[in-house]
Amino acid sequence: MADPSLPLSLRGRLLRASAVILPLVIVLAGLALLKAFNSSLENAEASQARLQVYLLLGAMDIEDQQLELPEHLLDPGFSRLDSGVYGFIHGADGRLFWRSRSSLALPDGLVQRLPSQALQPGQSLFSHLPEQQLYLFQYPVIWESGAGEVRFLISVLRSDSQIRGEMKAFSLQLLGWLSGICLVALLAQYFIMRWGLRPLDLLANDLQRIEAGDSDHLEGRYPLEVQGVTESLNRLIETERQQRERYRNTLGDLAHSLKTPLAVIRGTTNEALDEADYRRQVEEQALRMQQIVQYQLARAVKSQGRALARAIPVQPVAERLLSVMEKVYAGMPKDVELRFEPGIGFSGDERDLMELLGNLIDNAYKYGGQRIRIEAHLDGDQLMLEVSDDGQGVAPDQRQVILQRGARLDTQAAPGQGIGLAVALDIVSSYDGSLEVTESEWQGACFRVTLPGAPLS
């Protein structure tokens, strides 16, 4: 089962991820923009204040240690009460020499705090006083007169209301735009995802159709990334379908072919037979059923014989078989010769190869004389296998018959006759190969097999 803490669909996951990340990015971008805009406004404010300081400086005059400034300054803001622009000139000792008319309504506490010794001539200070909602610009000067030099500190205070207003308007505008962008981006993301993930929906639908039995393979055209999956699925479905069909056929064949011996046994109970005959009849039919079951089982178990991309080595299979044959037929040792071209492989299932070779070598041990030869070589993409012996051989008119024995098991089979060759033939034909019986150079039997093969990588 899927982890319940994770969104189930790909689309859900992607949307959830972008719904979290996208607004976060946009908020951060908004904050950065606000900050940049604010500092650019403050810079403008600072230059404005500096200009006004220069203005005051230009208007100043000193007579007999007395500072004089004209009644009407160039900037009318200094003259109008509460105009939002205020000027002060303090002496080096903090004594207030001059204050603009506009500043008369400012609280005294603020005015007393203005003088500062921190600044050296040539330096200036620009700062925001958030409580008073003012910007402060201070500039110390040294005035040289006949009597020597006099130090002054010129301060200009400006209301921050304009900047606050502009920031507010800008923030609102920014919020609108960014929200809009966020929404559009999320929507676009949603549609891109829908479009991008559509093939998966198609795939799910296709699979549902297969499940419902309306189709037997994935039909839709899929993008490159999904193509591999759909092709594998199609192969899997096809393999499964073939397997099912084979099982069905096998089951059918099995049930069908068991009916005859069963009928014979049932008939036997009605016959007036003595015990020995009855036993013999039942035994015979049981043997026949055993052969049928064995044959059908072997057919069902073997792979469907599709040639595989990777070739499996042939010689080790033969060697394993020979070493167990030596054990099983310890009472009748043989001269076995292996003639294998090095590095040859069988493009198929190892089990099938073992079953095929096992049956052929077993036959050579059972019906051959003293010598056995197993040869294998590659001819293009064909693996040629030969198992020869020096036994009685197979008469030409019997060669087809012995291969078909298994196939005709359900009609009549002589008891005790093996089904190995029938199984071997079955394996060979499932690989579109061939199996033929000829005469070996010692006048015995020679079984010649062709199968798909390849050199070992």
Binding site: V328, G331, R351, M354, L357, G358
Partner: protein
């Protein structure tokens, strides 16, 4: 001959036991691999019949265990599938022969006899010791070509001694390998058997095939001839 039958299906196990006992084997049975591994390790058998498809510890594992312990007792495996992959795996695990289910009792016994004989170094079913011959497949003993009529116990005693020719077999071993558990193990009975057997196979007392090794047991003293 003492056989161990390892098969989890009770009906088949009963049939196997019956089949083998009819042919003169002494049979011990087990229905699981764990017990079988232990039995094979602790007791001496002449042959074992092991079903591959046992629950829990498989027949292949039992055989591998025995072989790892250096137990060379001949083993015949019973397989239900009977394809070569299966047979090869069984034989590579250490079994000596296989039989696919279902099988014929006669065939099983023939295979077992052959395995026992092979284990004692005789390739042919006929054990030849000069004038005296014993055909393990026909269960017939001949002296100079004439059949010697033996009882089942006498035959088995002679066969066992011949298969172990040259070795001294204690009375206890002989009793254990030849007679059922419930048989009276009085050693006098065995002595009577041996005496009668000697009279039958060597009436002229010229061959002296069965020697008594005082205090140890009996030894079949003739040389095998091809």
């Amino acid at each position: 001959m003492k056989a161990l039958v390892v098969e989890d299906d009770a009906d088949l196990r009963r049939q196997l036991k019956q089949m083998l006992e009819q042919k003169g084997y002494t049979v011990e049975e087990s229905d699981n691999g764990r017990e079988a591994s232990y039995l094979g390790e602790e007791y001496e058998y002449d042959i074992a019949v092991v079903d591959i498809g046992l629950p829990e510890v498989s027949g292949l594992d039992v055989i591998r265990h025995w072989r790892q312990q250096g137990i060379s007792l001949p083993v015949l495996i019973l397989t239900a599938r009977g394809d070569w992959q299966d047979k090869v795996e069984g034989l590579e695990a250490g079994a000596d022969d296989y039989l696919a289910k279902p099988f014929h009792g006669e065939e099983l016994v023939a295979r077992l006899n052959a395995l026992v004989r092979r284990a004692s170094g005789h390739a042919s079913p006929v054990l030849k010791f000069g004038l005296l011959e014993l055909d393990t497949s026909a269960r017939v003993v001949t002296l100079s070509g004439d059949e010697v009529r033996l009882t089942s116990y006498e035959y088995r005693t002679l066969e066992y001694l011949m298969l172990n020719a040259g070795k001294t077999i204690s009375k206890a071993e002989l009793t254990e390998h030849l007679y059922h558990q419930d048989y009276d193990r009085d050693s006098n009975v065995l002595e009577v058997f041996i005496r009668r057997l000697r009279q039958k196979i060597d009436p002229e007392q010229t061959l002296q095939p069965i020697k008594t090794v005082r205090g140890l047991g009996y030894r079949f003293a003739l040389e095998a001839t091809a």
